[in-house]
Structure formats: structure tokens, C-alpha cells
């Protein structure tokens, strides 16, 4: 069981409140991702759950038990850090064994768990090496191994992939997702990368300035962002937000249309514009179009190849079924 409840949790550093009172429920076995721009308080929130940071006010319950004043080790949570935080003077085996050694587990059980974690994470050949002799991906796997052997109630990941290169990141993303499927343990994962959030999460928590903007499944957030911030943050490339006369036509302050929901034509369409940059990826083409009223540039995503280049005139037509409308406060209109 790994149910985590945050009740009116608040964190201030001196006079500065980084997290105003906040409620959140993380269900057993869920993969929850905290996402938001730098400084939005997502890591602080994770550290509050871990017990590495003291709360200013509020209550944290883990499995229905009040964990507010429990030290980190007593919360039955395991954490994987951005910098891996391996013990550089210990071998991989000793790194993985460390939490079990601290718990006073008998040697036979330790060996069994190390062997099984090493096998699951492809670390068997590296058990006698030191962290310094491993690649970034291997180090991250050791950090995960150290977390797994404790058989925690929940795993906490603090931007675990941001120190890895792009290719490795994709691979590790899959490995963590698979691990979650296999262990079915609650995982709380912090990232600023919305692609990671979309691909891994059961539930995404979008944060801005310590405030939860929206909680929902990846597709809920994609289809019905609650406000302009979530609309702009979730989805890649970003949603186009259009203000002015075009928005007024739809009885809104702002309208939003995702790049993949705009049709491109070289002959006719609703809006006319000039191609600024066309990014040809092969599978897709991203076109940045200037001159669309109320939105400059407007980004459009076209599946496959389309022969447009800088300076070409194009016509754009939004798919009205996928149009998002927001009021003056930036909140979604039904």
C-alpha cells in the first residue's frame, strides 16, 4: 500500500511562501508526475513528502498514518535523485546494500535482493565497480536498484533523467515505466519535461508558483486544459493562443488551437500568413507562420513532408472541434 495524502500542506522559507496550502491525493500504485516550469515548487513538494524538508503547516498521511513528523527513513519511501547521489567510495553492490545494511537485514536476504535487483536492472556485471567507473545511465540504474531493494511503499523520483543525454533518456523512461508496471508500486516523479510527464504518468499534477493548476490524466490535460497555463504547458509544440478579434468571434478572451489541429494549404484557408521557419523532421513538419492576426508566430504541425520553405505564403484553417476557449482570467470556457 502506498497511498499518500497531502492536507493543507504549506511551505515557507522565511517570509516567502513557496507552496501555499495545498491538498493532493496520490492513490496506491499510481504513477503521478509533478510537472511545471523551474522554480514552481515541484521538487520542494517532493522533498516535503520525503521528509527532507520540514513543512510549515499541514499534514501528510502515508497509508492513512500521520507521517508529518516522521524522519525520512521511517516513511517507507525511497528516493532517486537527479544527481544519482550514489556513495562514491562504495562499490555498486555496497551502494545497493546500504539501505538494507542500515535496516540490519541479514546477509543472505541482502544478497538475494541485490542479485534480483541487479538482474532486473542489468547491473550484474558491474556489482564490484565503483560509481565513478559507470556511465550516467548505469549510475541511474544503481540509484534505482538502491531504491528497489528496500521494497518501499512508494518511489520518489526527483528529475532522475535530466542528467542523461537524449537517447539514454528515452531508454530510461521506458525502463522506469516498465518497472512501474512490474512492481505496481506508487511512484511520484518530478520533471520539467512535459514529454516525460505525458508518456509516463497515470496522473499529472501541473504546478505553477507552488499552486496546483490542474490534476488529471495526460489525455484529460491535453484535451481539456483548465486554464491557459496548462494549455500552454502540456503538449509539444505548445498550443497556439490567439487573442483579439479572432477570439471575440468565438465569445472568448483567448482561443487556443494545438499545432496538430491546424490544416495547412497553399491555396486557401481561414488565416493567411508567411512561413518563417519550416522544420522538416521527415515524420512531421513544424511550420512557424507569421502574420496570423492575434498570434505571432503560429506553429503548425503537419504529418509527413510538405514542400514549404521560408517566405512562402500559406493558408491555415483551425479544426473548430479542437478549439479551446478561455475567459479574461485565463480559465477554460465550457
Amino acid at each position: 500500500m502506498g497511498r499518500i495524502q497531502l492536507k493543507q500542506v504549506k511551505k515557507s522559507f522565511g517570509d516567502v511562501t513557496v507552496i501555499p496550502p495545498l491538498d493532493l491525493e496520490i492513490n496506491d500504485g499510481e504513477f503521478v508526475v509533478f510537472v511545471g516550469p523551474s522554480g514552481c515548487g515541484k521538487s520542494t513538494l517532493l522533498r516535503l513528502i520525503a521528509g527532507l524538508e520540514d513543512m510549515t503547516d499541514g499534514k501528510i498521511e502515508i497509508d492513512g498514518q500521520d507521517a508529518t513528523s516522521l524522519p525520512p527513513a521511517k516513511r517507507k519511501l525511497a528516493m532517486v535523485f537527479q544527481s544519482y547521489a550514489l556513495y562514491p567510495h562504495m562499490t555498486v553492490r555496497k551502494n545497493i546494500a546500504f539501505p538494507m545494511r542500515m535496516a540490519g537485514m541479514d546477509q543472505a536476504e541482502q544478497d538475494k535482493r541485490i542479485a534480483s535487483a541487479a538482474k532486473a536492472l542489468n547491473l550484474t556485471d558491474y556489482l564490484d565497480r565503483r560509481p565513478g567507473q559507470l556511465s550516467g545511465g548505469q549510475r541511474q540504474r544503481v540509484a534505482i536498484g538502491r531504491a528497489i531493494v528496500r521494497e518501499p511503499e512508494a518511489f520518489l523520483f526527483d528529475e532522475p533523467l535530466s542528467n542523461l543525454d537524449a537517447a539514454l533518456r528515452v531508454g530510461m523512461r521506458m525502463e522506469i515505466s516498465e518497472l512501474h508496471k512490474k512492481l505496481a508500486t506508487t511512484m511520484v516523479y518530478v520533471t520539467h519535461d512535459q514529454v516525460e510527464a505525458m508518456t509516463m504518468a497515470d496522473k499529472i499534477v501541473v504546478l505553477q508558483a507552488g499552486v496546483i493548476e490542474q490534476v488529471g490524466s495526460p489525455l484529460e490535460l491535453y484535451r481539456a486544459p483548465r486554464n491557459k497555463f496548462v494549455a500552454g504547458f502540456i503538449g509539444s509544440p505548445k498550443m497556439n493562443l490567439i487573442e483579439g478579434a479572432e477570439a471575440t468571434k468565438h465569445n472568448a478572451q483567448t482561443i487556443g488551437i494545438r499545432p496538430e489541429h491546424v490544416e495547412v494549404s497553399t491555396t486557401d484557408g481561414l488565416w493567411q500568413g508567411t512561413v518563417g521557419v519550416a522544420e522538416h523532421l521527415g515524420s512531421d513538419t513544424f511550420i512557424h507562420v507569421h502574420g496570423v492576426p492575434g498570434c505571432d508566430p503560429m506553429t503548425v504541425r503537419v504529418g509527413g513532408e510538405i514542400p514549404v520553405t521560408h517566405g512562402d505564403t500559406v493558408f491555415l484553417t483551425p479544426n473548430l472541434q479542437h478549439l479551446h476557449r478561455f475567459d479574461a482570467e485565463g480559465l477554460r470556457l465550457a
Partner: protein
């Protein structure tokens, strides 16, 4: 052309560094040379540099006249004891300053260092009286404690600098892994700080070994270390330069040899944190 200028500059810099190095080393070299001269050669005018009758007589006399081994043993106990005791106290102190600093931590560190600026003689009288009261005059324990206290600010400062270099996340990981404060310091922090702790130990052994003010003032015969051994040769009975030099060489030899073998560690330790 640019390359030629660089090479020339390099040569000048190297020569300059050697010059400074030799200037610093010269008194030690002169002491060593003098220790092998006769008393007459030692004070001859003009002084002789290398071409004299080399003799070991001074060493024989010094060895005969004083119990070198007793002084050496006292030095080892006092320098080693004060350093070890200092490190035991300084590790937790530096840990708390580096990892759980309070708004006043910087002030405390500066205040600690400021105690080093006080002339030692300013507190000689109260410490002397305290030693009489405690019965610590001319005892090893007394000197171990006083030298530990004298060097503690430096030990804390050095360890604090090393600890600051250790990423806090690793200690947090240890905390998540269930390590108590004791295990965290013992199994994670200390092994990671071994190079820093080693150079702190070395430097403090050297400082304590060479410390003369307190060792001379608070000892008489029983607990006197090698500094007192040297001092006994610059006595009212007249200056015997050659014997004084021989005694000095015998006193500094152990620490010089230790320093020579650990110079890499010392340099690394002293520049740690300065280049990152």
C-alpha cells in the same frame, strides 16, 4: 613569436619560484650544514659553506647529554593526541556548519578564526593558573588539551571547507536509506572526506609538533617535547651553534620526513576547494 615569449616567461617564473623556494629552505639547509661542523667552524668568519671537516660529534654529544627519545615520545603523544582529539571534536562541528547551517554559522566560523589572532601571551597567565589548579603543569594531558584547543579553529575550518564540497544530496540519500546521524557521518561523510581529513591531520600534526610557546611555558622536564629539547641548547651557559643545530635537526627530522612523504596529500589538501 608568441610561443617564444611564453617560454621565456615560463623560465623567469620557474627561476623566481626556485629563488623563493631556496630562500625559504636556506635556514633549514644552513642548520643541517652547521650541525656537521665543529663549534669553531660554526661561528667562523667568513662562514664556510660546504668545505669543512664533516663531523658527527655534535650528534654524539647531544645524544649523550639529553634523553632524545623521551622528548621525541612526548612530541609524538602531544602532536598526535591533540590532533586526533581535535578531529574527533571538529568532525561533528564542521558537519553541522556545512550541512545544517544557521544564520549565524558564518559569524561563528569567523569568531573561531579570530581567536587565532589573539596573541597567545595574552592568555598565558589565566591558562597557567588554571593548569596549576588542575595539576596539569608539565603533563602530557595538559599539553594535548591546550594544543588541541589552539588548533581547533583551523581543524574546524579545514574540515568545513572539505565538507562543503560534498554534495548534500548524498547525505540526504543516506538519510532516506535509513542512516542515523551517526551512521551518516561514519559510513558516508567521513570516508568521502578522507583526503581532506588526512591533510587536516597532517597539517595539524606539523603545527602541534612545531608549537613552541605553550610547550615551553607549560612544561619543565617530564612532558617536555622536542621544542624544549632544542631550547635547552640555547641556554645561559652560552651558545653552542653546532650542537644547537644538531639538536634542531634531530627535532625537525621526523616531521620533515613525514612532510616529504605526504607533500602530495598536503598540497592537495591545502588547495582543495580553491580551484573548483
Amino acid at each position: 613569436m608568441a610561443r617564444a615569449v611564453t617560454t621565456q616567461r615560463k623560465a623567469i617564473n620557474t627561476a623566481f619560484a626556485w629563488g623563493v623556494g631556496l630562500l625559504i629552505f636556506f635556514p633549514i639547509l644552513w642548520t643541517i650544514l652547521t650541525s656537521f661542523k665543529t663549534e669553531a667552524q660554526a661561528i667562523s668568519d667568513p662562514p664556510v659553506f660546504l668545505f669543512f671537516d664533516w663531523t658527527l660529534e655534535n650528534y654524539a654529544v647531544v645524544q649523550e647529554r639529553s634523553d632524545y627519545m623521551r622528548f621525541l615520545w612526548n612530541s609524538i603523544i602531544i602532536a598526535g593526541g591533540s590532533t586526533i582529539l581535535g578531529v574527533i571534536i571538529a568532525v561533528p562541528a564542521a558537519w553541522s556548519m556545512a550541512f545544517v547551517p544557521s544564520p549565524r554559522t558564518k559569524d561563528i566560523l569567523l569568531w573561531m578564526l579570530s581567536t587565532k589572532m589573539l596573541p597567545a601571551v595574552g592568555v598565558l597567565y589565566p591558562i597557567y593558573l588554571l593548569f596549576i589548579k588542575l595539576g596539569w603543569l608539565d603533563t602530557q594531558i595538559g599539553l594535548v588539551i591546550v594544543l588541541m584547543l589552539i588548533n581547533l579553529p583551523i581543524i574546524v575550518w579545514m574540515l568545513y571547507t572539505y565538507f562543503k564540497e560534498i554534495p548534500g544530496e548524498i547525505l540526504e540519500a543516506a538519510r532516506m536509506d535509513g542512516a542515523t546521524l551517526k551512521s551518516e557521518i561514519l559510513y558516508v561523510l567521513t570516508p568521502m572526506a578522507v583526503p581532506g581529513i588526512a591533510s587536516t591531520l597532517l597539517l595539524n600534526v606539523i603545527l602541534a609538533w612545531n608549537e613552541a610557546f605553550w610547550t615551553l611555558n607549560l612544561t619543565a622536564a617530564k612532558a617536555a617535547p622536542l621544542t624544549a629539547f632544542i631550547a635547552s641548547y640555547s641556554s645561559p651557559e652560552g651558545l653552542f651553534y653546532a650542537k644547537l643545530s644538531a639538536a634542531s635537526v634531530m627535532a625537525i627530522a621526523p616531521i620533515l620526513i613525514m612532510g616529504w612523504f605526504s607533500q602530495k596529500q598536503l598540497v592537495r589538501g591545502l588547495t582543495f576547494g580553491a580551484v573548483k
